[in-house]
């Protein structure tokens, strides 16, 4: 059981990473990775949403009528997303980030990772493993987001978390700020990931 739990947590971060292996949640990873701060908030938001939705769906898994289970899951995910959005809007320091992330917070609901984990894991497992699975998937997603945002903010603005890192003489690369570069970076991450992990290579 302990081994199982460890797998539940580590698998989504490494071997079964939602972005680099399952290629889910690409849309938001292109859109919100211009600044590291936005990516961090997005990562935390998605982690909380996937974790809590998985937990709640797992608690209700034996009562949810099978025919309308997707709708019920959607209502639960929507609830979590709106809660996160409302809390971000109410916080003084998070309000600006919420404005910057704009629609992408609301669009967490359409993030395939959330529904995917509920369907694939939470409906068939106990609440605690489901919670961990949701959280770990959020972390796996967030990890890639943060790696991409790190390079994009560093090369695109010469700053990290708003603080200047590269000297002023560095001319920011405008391509890096545009979404296509995030796709290039993601491709590189997938390449490195597969090169390191032999199990992921197709024969």
């Amino acid at each position: 059981m302990a081994q199982n739990l460890k797998d539940t947590i580590l698998n989504p971060i490494l071997k079964g990473n939602p972005i680099s292996v399952l290629v889910l949640g690409i849309c938001s990873s292109l859109a919100v990775t211009v600044q590291l701060k936005g990516a961090l908030v997005m990562a935390i938001s998605v982690t909380i949403v996937t974790g809590l939705s998985s937990l709640v769906c797992s608690l209700l898994r034996n009562t949810i009528p099978n025919r309308v289970r997707i709708i019920v899951q959607l209502v639960i995910v929507a609830l979590m997303v709106i809660l996160v959005d409302q809390i971000l809007k109410a916080g003084e320091s998070t309000y600006a980030i919420d404005k910057q992330l704009s629609v992408y917070i609301g669009l967490i609901i359409t993030n395939c990772i959330v529904m995917g984990r509920i369907e694939a894991f939470a409906l068939g497992n106990k609440p605690i493993p489901s919670l961990l699975d949701g959280l770990a998937n959020g972390v796996g997603y967030g990890l890639i987001l943060i790696i991409v945002a790190f390079f994009r903010e560093l090369l695109g603005s010469g700053t990290l978390l708003g603080f200047r890192v590269l000297p002023l003489s560095y001319v920011p690369n405008n391509l890096v700020i545009l979404p296509p570069f995030a796709l290039i970076l993601l491709g590189c991450i997938i390449w490195i990931h597969r090169a390191l992990d032999k199990d992921l290579q197709e024969k």
Binding site: I64, A78, L79, G91, E92
Partner: protein, 293 residues
């Protein structure tokens, strides 16, 4: 229990939705005041950025309380005017109770209905806000429809009531990298400073493709790749400038008697010029002396 029966399904979904709605209503009630405070501070930041009281970066890095302090220290009066240009309300500028006109959308509708000659069903009169800062700069809002959602902004007008001192624009959901440039790009905002609003014309301002090329002082080039956002912003500017026209004409008339003073300053200028000339003569003599030595 049969979880697949129709009755169970209906009852289950109803209960879930009711619970979710209750939770959301409760949270929205609890967080409402702090969200409103954030929105208000945001509006104040944008107004003060337009009025040039602080740099945009400084305003956005300061806390809400500091923004309120700064506003209270710099505002001289705030009031609302109707479409006839006559003042019809006061806005509190007290630090503990700063009032702003929220709901620009409703105001926009009243202006447009009035223009179209439609009768206002609810008989609402417009309450268009004017914020006058200590520096004499008046800040007015503009509001309109962009491509995906509303666009709005604050325009600061110099004490001559025609020249734009500064501007700040914001939007709800314009495309990042294209329409969102109206907010993100400093050069776009800076273009507005020094432009003149041609009150009296049907279109007092012109934000359009290649508008600057003709050299008009009431024109700013539209943003490439953001045609619809630019058009929307252009409409917003013109509709709202028209709405404020009567008020600013009235203000301009009220300040006319001060023209006598203006002449005085001209006279003073001539005197200073004369002194300058004298000085140059003196300098020339000194220079000559040096050469001679």
């Amino acid at each position: 229990m049969n979880t697949n029966s129709n009755i169970y399904t209906i009852i289950y979904t109803t209960v879930v939705v009711v619970i979710v709605a209750a939770v959301l209503a409760f949270v929205s009630m609890k967080l409402g005041p702090s969200q409103e405070a954030n929105v208000k501070a945001e509006s104040l930041r944008q107004m003060m950025a337009a009025a040039g009281i602080e740099s945009t970066d400084n305003l956005y890095s300061s806390k809400n309380a500091e923004v309120l302090d700064l506003y209270a220290a710099n505002i001289s009066k705030a009031y609302t005017v109707g479409l006839d240009g006559i003042q019809n309300g006061e806005l509190s500028i007290d630090r503990s109770n700063i009032e702003l006109v929220s709901g620009l959308k409703a105001q926009n509708k009243i202006i447009k209905d009035n223009k179209a000659g439609k009768d206002n069903k609810d008989n609402k009169t417009a309450t268009l806000p004017v914020y006058v800062f200590n520096s004499g700069v008046c800040v007015i809002p503009v509001y309109g429809a962009g491509l995906w959602g509303p666009v709005w902004g604050y325009i600061a007008i110099e004490p001559d009531f025609t020249t734009i001192h500064g501007a700040y624009f914001d939007h709800e959901s314009e495309t990042p990298g294209l329409g969102a440039k109206i907010k993100d790009e400093e050069w776009f905002r800076e273009k507005f400073a020094g432009k003149v609003i041609a009150f009296g014309k049907e279109e007092p301002f012109c934000l359009a493709k290649n508008a600057e090329a003709e050299g008009a002082d009431n024109a700013v080039d539209a943003i490439t790749g953001a045609t619809m956002t630019s058009k929307g912003l252009n409409t917003a500017l013109n509709v709202w400038f028209n709405a404020y026209e009567s008020h600013f004409e009235k203000l301009a008339k009220e300040t006319e008697p001060e023209e006598g003073q203006a002449e005085d300053t001209v006279a003073e200028d001539i005197v200073t010029e004369y002194i300058v000339v004298e000085n140059t003569v003196a300098e020339n003599t000194v220079a000559k002396n040096i050469v001679e030595e």
